[in-house]
């Protein structure tokens, strides 16, 4: 269960805005400071651990740079909810263990709204309005990967299982 305040963005937020290319040669602490600054200049400074990004359609379009979800995770965001995602951002976020949740009603969530997200159930409760919103179900193999903390954790588990299987033989 995730609870956090909503940071609301519009449609087609691209990854150049989330993680500017000219800063990618530097460590995450540096490029994360400039995350989405052209859209909401106070975002990186004011975001609190647990907060949730709410986007419109095609969130994370453009470059496939994993530093985009990485910057959000570094700043403490607990999830990204959007009407739809660019496929590269979606895969990257899930791969690093940052839940990317598709919700057609994302547009009804106001800036600063307190949201309670139950990923397994696929439900978002808006604690300010009392409304609940249904999310698109996460495919089983991705849910399992998220529970392992992302693709690396998932691979580690798989490799361990393979190793012990080999040892038992």
């Amino acid at each position: 269960m995730i609870t956090g305040r909503a940071w609301v963005f519009g449609d087609n937020v691209n990854t150049d805005l989330i993680a500017p290319a000219r800063l990618l040669k530097r460590p995450v602490a540096e490029f994360a400071r400039h995350c989405l600054e052209t859209v909401q200049p106070n975002f990186a400074a004011e975001v609190k651990p647990g907060d949730i990004v709410v986007g419109g359609v095609n969130f994370g379009c453009g470059s496939s740079r994993e530093q985009a979800p990485e910057a959000l995770r570094y700043l403490g965001l607990s999830a990204v909810i959007a009407k739809s995602f660019a496929r590269t951002f979606y895969r990257n976020a899930m791969n690093i263990g940052l839940p990317a949740i598709v919700c057609s009603e994302a547009g009804s969530m106001a800036q600063g709204a307190r949201l309670k997200l139950s990923i397994e159930k696929g439900i978002i409760e808006n604690l300010d309005t009392g409304k609940t919103h249904k999310c698109q179900a996460i495919p089983r193999h991705l849910m399992e990967m998220l529970n392992d903390g992302g693709l690396l954790g998932h691979l580690e588990k798989r490799l361990r299982a393979k190793k012990s299987e080999t040892l038992q033989r």
């Binding site: 500017p20 453009g62 895969r91 691979l155």
Partner: protein, 421 residues
């Protein structure tokens, strides 16, 4: 069951007789590509943490293009790390400052019809122009592929882009793609595959086909495809890849597409994308008289030999306008060599163009040609998002190499058809 080309390619990689849209399947990867910015420096430590070997060293290509050549100690360090990692890991295919990955893969004979390829960069679909299924992913996903040799995909629906007629002289594949960006919402092709077909496509040389497929992520597409034909087979033979199964990698005549988009290439006007999105594209006439500070020909999208030829055709016997910088960063070292041999570079530089090193350069504001506050640039690259090529207040217009060169001569955006015979 009739299948689209995309479905055939995925079925082959998944060892299945057929697949259906929206199914999730695991595919065997024939080739994995990563570059200096997102590859070894990020993937290397992950592999180390997992303690797992690379599944197949013959099937991995590493390219140093994003930070090449180094412009400061950060980028020099990244290139140095990449070289040392490649050597320690035993990577067999490494291109160090030889060009941009998406252009190198076909140029150096790494692609063929029927392959399933994963690239650690969003413009990887460029390779779809030869009839391979090529998708872009992030670093952790590349790591997963390097360890397992596999990747999951949701089988995409296919969209058919049917291009009738033949392009007018002075109109290029870039204009075709910008027209699609104008005609469709940015997310219109999310998770889908665009298959290009028709008289205009059959007439396109390989360089132009690569441009067309290169920009499919700008519409959200998973990838883009052009079924192999005589032009594909001849191009690949020239780079040492002999294809005998081109007939196999065609959509079935009765294959179902989610939708068909019809375009008349003969009626297509040169297109210009205004700041700050490729979807702000319109006929060049809508942007006549926009003055520019810089014209840039570069990147995987717009600096292949075919693009340099377009620019040279416009510049022959003309001069770059006073007060305009015309920068050209050829997409590969081989492009530079060929353009030197056939006189193209002489034409360009005599007209006042400045030749830059091969590499990703100013396209993402990382190398030579980055823009200052308030500057206006017309560029043959793929993206013009806010701040993409430099300062957040700089403005980038996108166009074909014809349009970029014509603007360099005029000092403002103009119809390039007035500059070619």
């Amino acid at each position: 069951m009739p299948l689209t080309l995309a479905e055939k390619l995925i079925a082959e990689a998944a060892s299945r007789a057929s697949v259906e849209p929206d199914e999730i399947v695991t595919c065997r990867v024939d080739l994995a590509m990563m570059h200096d910015l997102q590859g070894p420096r990020r993937v290397g430590p992950m592999l180390e943490k997992l303690g797992a070997p690379i599944w197949n060293l013959d099937r991995v290509v590493v390219v140093s293009d994003h930070n090449a050549p180094a412009i400061d100690t950060d980028t020099a360090g990244i290139l140095d790390f990449t070289r040392k990692w490649v050597q320690a890991a035993g990577i067999k295919h490494f291109y160090d400052m030889q060009g941009i990955s998406h252009v190198l893969l076909p140029e150096r004979g790494h692609l063929r019809p029927g392959m399933f390829v994963v690239g650690g960069d969003s413009h990887s679909p460029t390779g779809g122009a030869v009839g391979a299924f090529v998708i872009g992913v992030g670093s952790t996903e590349v790591c997963g592929v390097l360890v397992t040799g596999e990747i999951w995909v949701r089988v995409p629906h296919s969209i058919l882009a049917d291009w009738s007629g033949i392009l007018q002289h002075g109109v290029a594949a870039k204009d075709m793609m910008l027209k699609m960006c104008a005609a469709l919402p940015m997310e219109a092709c999310d998770y889908r595959v665009i298959e290009h077909r028709g008289d205009a496509i059959r007439a396109l040389p390989m360089g132009e086909r690569l441009t067309l497929c290169n920009m499919s992520p700008e519409l959200g597409a998973k990838t883009s495809l052009i079924a192999p034909d005589e032009i594909t087979v001849r191009y690949l033979a020239d780079v040492g890849v002999h294809v005998e199964d081109a007939d196999r990698w065609q959509s079935d005549p009765a294959a179902e597409y989610e939708r068909t988009l019809n375009f008349d290439a003969a009626a297509l006007e040169p297109q210009i994308a205004a700041p700050s999105s490729p979807s702000n594209s319109a006929d060049v006439n809508d942007y006549q008289n926009v003055s520019i500070h810089q014209a840039y020909i570069g990147a995987c999208t717009g600096a292949k030999l075919s693009d340099l030829h377009m620019a040279a055709e416009v510049l022959r016997g003309r001069r770059v306008a006073a007060g305009v910088r015309f920068l050209i960063a050829p997409a590969s070292q081989r492009t530079t060599v060929e353009a030197a041999q056939d006189g193209t570079l002489a034409t360009l530089t005599e007209a006042g163009a400045i030749l830059l090193p091969t590499g990703c350069g100013a396209c993402a504001g990382m190398g030579a040609g980055t823009l200052a506050a308030g500057e206006v640039c017309i560029s043959s690259t793929a993206r013009n998002y806010k701040g993409r090529m430099g300062d957040y207040t700089s403005e980038v217009y996108l166009g074909s190499a014809y349009s970029v060169a014509a603007a360099a001569v005029a000092g403002r955006i103009v119809d390039p058809r007035d500059f070619v015979q």
